[in-house]
Symmetry: D2
Subunit: 368 residues, 4 copies
């Protein structure tokens, strides 16, 4: 029997090594003075209505180069109960944490999904200490307990068509009250395969943190077509350092940018800081002619960015809308009509949103 256990351990080890071989990468350069933490804070396993063991979630997160996950099992919805009695709602977290390797970049924090019909709907509490204590009759009481544990709390998929027939996210008096009471800190603008512009407006109106999470139940690779080059929905947290405390503080302060398919969503100042950190401009040159400037823009991030130039000039080979490819660059020949020492280059990032229908704007400075 000992032999048997040893042999299974060997198999487990080789699987671990395989997953380690994938090199760690960050998706975007962090703005100076901050870390950019790639987080997915809404995930399920067999310990509620998901279909994989908690260790798989850790393996997925490593392969996808995430920095932080939380397994947020439904406290009240336990469809596998017959097979998995699950008396301790911290169990999924424990199994994931044990699978994490000492010192590895990926962090795992405890979390839970408080699961009700609307209102309030579904609410995630992460950075909690004991999930079992959140299992109380009254949902507001669960939020009070989560906050007592120091949790970061956000409203999940407020537009979910199973709870909102018209798919429109809107606040009920219940939500109004807990926001005012400081018990609810964030709101999912992106959940799984969906996006809610109404939720984005609520986040802006009520000063809630903008969140985007996977809410994955099955295999992440299948749901988000990751082998084909896509990525799961995630939230980049602009934290002062790589620690759970700093990340939680940043989340409560609303410092996030959400990545969903080819879209980046966030508050204007956060999106601008991320774009400024990732759009790098070469010195201004006049090569083709002394009247035509060569502007080279590098994109150091993992997302193609569609820029719309809003200044006065025209280009020699492009319209005012063009793409700077991920980890690539574009050369623009700008017809400046004279030889300039410096060039203000204002752009909108068309595949970003700082508010419904509103892209981020920034001005690149190009100097000799």
């Amino acid at each position: 029997m000992k032999t048997l256990i040893t042999s299974f351990a060997i198999i487990g080890l080789s699987a671990q090594l395989a997953s380690q071989e994938v090199a760690r990468q960050s998706f975007f350069k962090a703005p100076t003075g901050s870390e950019l933490i790639a987080a997915d804070l809404h995930i399920h396993t067999v310990f509620s209505d998901g279909n994989v063991w908690p260790t798989i979630r850790v393996d997925e997160a490593r392969r996808e180069d995430l920095d932080l996950i939380s397994l947020t099992e439904h406290l009240e919805y336990q469809p596998h109960k017959r097979d998995i009695p699950n008396p301790d709602r911290n169990r999924a977290f424990e199994l994931a944490l044990r699978h994490r390797k000492e010192g590895e970049q990926l962090m795992v924090v405890n979390g839970s999904e408080i699961t009700r019909s609307m209102a309030p709907g579904h609410i995630n509490a992460v950075f909690i200490e004991d999930a079992n204590k959140l299992m109380v009759d009254d949902a507001r009481e669960a939020l009070v307990e989560a906050n007592r544990q120091g949790a970061y709390v956000f409203w999940n998929h407020p537009q979910w068509e199973a709870q909102r027939k018209d798919g429109i996210a809107r606040l009920e008096p219940w939500h109004d009250e807990v926001i005012k009471a400081g018990l609810l800190h964030g709101i999912e603008v992106v959940n799984d395969l969906t996006l809610s512009e109404e939720a984005l407006q609520i986040a802006l109106d009520r000063n809630l943190t903008i969140m985007g999470n996977s809410d994955v139940h099955g295999i992440a690779d299948w749901q988000y077509e990751i082998p084909e080059g896509n990525h799961r929905p995630m939230t980049f947290v602009l934290a002062s350092e790589r620690s759970p405390e700093a990340i939680k503080a940043a989340l409560k302060a609303g410092r996030t940018v959400v990545w969903f398919n080819d879209l980046l969503v966030g508050r204007a100042e956060h999106l601008a800081s991320v774009f400024e950190a990732n759009l790098r401009v070469e010195p201004l040159k006049y090569e083709v002619s002394p009247l035509i400037a060569r502007v080279v823009i590098h994109n150091d991030g993992a997302q193609d960015l569609t820029l719309r130039y809003t200044g006065p000039y025209t280009f020699h080979a492009h319209t005012n809308m063009f793409v700077v490819p991920a980890h690539g660059s574009i050369e623009l020949d700008v017809k400046t009509l004279e030889s300039l020492e410096k060039l203000d280059f204002p752009v909108l990032v068309e595949n970003s949103r700082v508010a419904p229908k509103t892209p981020a704007s920034l001005s690149l400075k190009v100097t000799k």
Copy 2:
């Protein structure tokens, strides 16, 4: 010696067969009642300053599924003269025509580039009868002769930085006069790797035909990265039928759309007709919920189209800007708030231009 000739003929034949194996495809569906002729009317070979034999241009055009080419050698610029005396300026055309196969889709018409410093710069005459007769001292006289032969005549790269230091296309009195005299019919808005929004404005202001051509001198595959999935610049002519006469008439009538990288440029009515022919909408369905419409848009063309929805609704999984992939489709869940019988779906095609900085607009009609 006879044996030798036979054996070389065999080699030639097998090369021909190889090129035939590439199946004929059209890039975009033609609007009802018209043919969409993919044309490149600005091409060079060793018979002026190009670097390949005329037959290669025919082979390239076949491989790239073009419908029409013209080899437009510089009449006055003959840098290979020491090796190729070229006494007959129709020679490149003759060699290309002989390489064309009876009945094949690709058409080849005679053409020439009248080559002067600015003004007038470079001017192409295509659908000509005898290139030699265009070799006259006075450039205007060359245009008169070209028109006498029934030619379609257009101004090449009016913004060329070798002739316009600031890269800005602008009319000289010379051009004004020949346009008014009906001797000049079109203008290149796209040439090789460049695009001129000023040239587009001139085309609109002076009612000139919008042209886009390669002006290829070397290997087209290298210059336009065709094996990597790109295409050469080309002009789609909206002709009443697949004949040189009909195509020439359409060119003179200004019925063109230019394809340059991911951009489509043309007059508003022509772009709209092409987009309407290629954007196909499935019947309106309510599946997810009776209040959320499923709109499926198919793109039957070869170019990804970036659409901006300008109507009042929001979507369940997209912002108002989204891509309909080439030969693919997109599913949009539109939050219509009620169950509609029909839905007007107004869009801008962001990667198109009907005027400087102005995308094409159209309204898709979605009905049950």
Copy 3:
């Protein structure tokens, strides 16, 4: 609460539909008169030491176009017991079967892994009726019970280095006895990422069925690099029809071919029948010259086949070893020195094995 259940059901449904969208394909053409059943009969889930819920195994099998799977949980090794008490060893099968859709191509049969240290090591019984009855002290008794239930029984990874330090598969007296008693019918020559030529020799010597299975514990896509174009190890069963009874009969009769990476392993007659069904030859032509035959061989299967021609002729563009690409073809110009009416074309399939170090041989008949 009812609302909640409904909404989860909707999510489940959409996931099912997504998996259905993958079109059904067969890997190889079946020899005339038989069906080629792609089977994986060694699979684990959270109900023993695997890491996914049984439904995921059904989803994987659908995506990979398998025809038959069996979840073969360790009866005696239950490392998740603390969380999953698993009192009924048929439970994983039941959950998988419920996830299968009425009438779909994929079949699921009940199975179990009888798990002992060597000898006897690990033994799978599939097509069983009640897994619980196999949980008896004596391993031989478990085999007797499995056979009483009509099971097909095979020896797993007989070379497993955890049980065989030198990695060499060899029979113990225990195995000898149960083979003679008719209680053990097959042997894994391929398991997971390994292959045992010694096991192949045992299969041939003792008339055991040649098996290849995944023994997957984690995510199949990761373990076998399926998105990158590879496949899991599988056994093709040459059955008279698509029914569990016919498949079981074929397994007991030894009619299998194993597919492992780019290798096909089986008895000579079975491999030859599969290759003959998938290597299709065009009529003999003399085109290049009346003395050089054009032989075109099509490969209708999913595996590139490396052929070695063993006849007397040489080729005009290939050596005697060449690859016929999967779903592709090769043209060989054979210097026959005269114009033949028919041509025998004997080949070895180098990426196949009918015995250790011995490739399959067959003779293609090429006629005018």
Copy 4:
């Protein structure tokens, strides 16, 4: 007019820069003490029956990372004579040489194809001084003159079906005589899309240098599917240094290896030296078990190598035939039955030929 010339010069320059951007790579590591010169010594342009200007051949060679080319126009076959009178048969070489950049890796040497019906057929002389002097009535006299100029001389496509109806390369008395006289030094075993095992046997029997060349007439990318990852046929010369003299000496000494599709052909000692330089073995380890050796073989070359192990052991996950991918590696678990200090690992390289139907053999030494 001056302006005009300047502007064309600018275009030419930018094309040159573009071609420079492709980084220089070598295909295979050179054996210690030698350089591996990638050469194509059989190429045509418009100056005989090819279809591109000589500069394109230089551009192609740069893009394909060749070290040495020679434009070998037919002296006697001039189908473009009407347009290109070509009074000086050194002209193509001059134009190519002028397009070469001082100090660049690519070398260009003068050459010509002496073109006769069989016998003698077609013969290339490269490293010549003056092509015009080779235009003499008697073919043998042309070889004498070529040798007087110090040329390296080889027989082209001796199996060409236009001159050999059965496609079989065979020596005529004429060839016998010039070989004995030391006037003919090599023979094409590979030409364009063809391979002649009979020519290989002649090379071995008569001590001729084994050659493989493209004989390209059209666009190399199309003929050899280079953008799809293939390469043109080429000859690697094992020269003592990167100079024309050293390369010529190596050619005359027969030190070559030919690369044709996935095949490498050469004399046993040359192929072995190239494989030894490119197959790198990691130190012997015992990891999985003290009885199973881990052998890791790296392939530092650009060609996947199909190895057949001919030693006594079996492997844990492979048969005795396996592929070491180009610029990749393979891990083999070798069941050595005991823990060895060193392991002889004899292999055949199945996609190589040292004689008809005979692969190269070598023995890798694996030590702790």
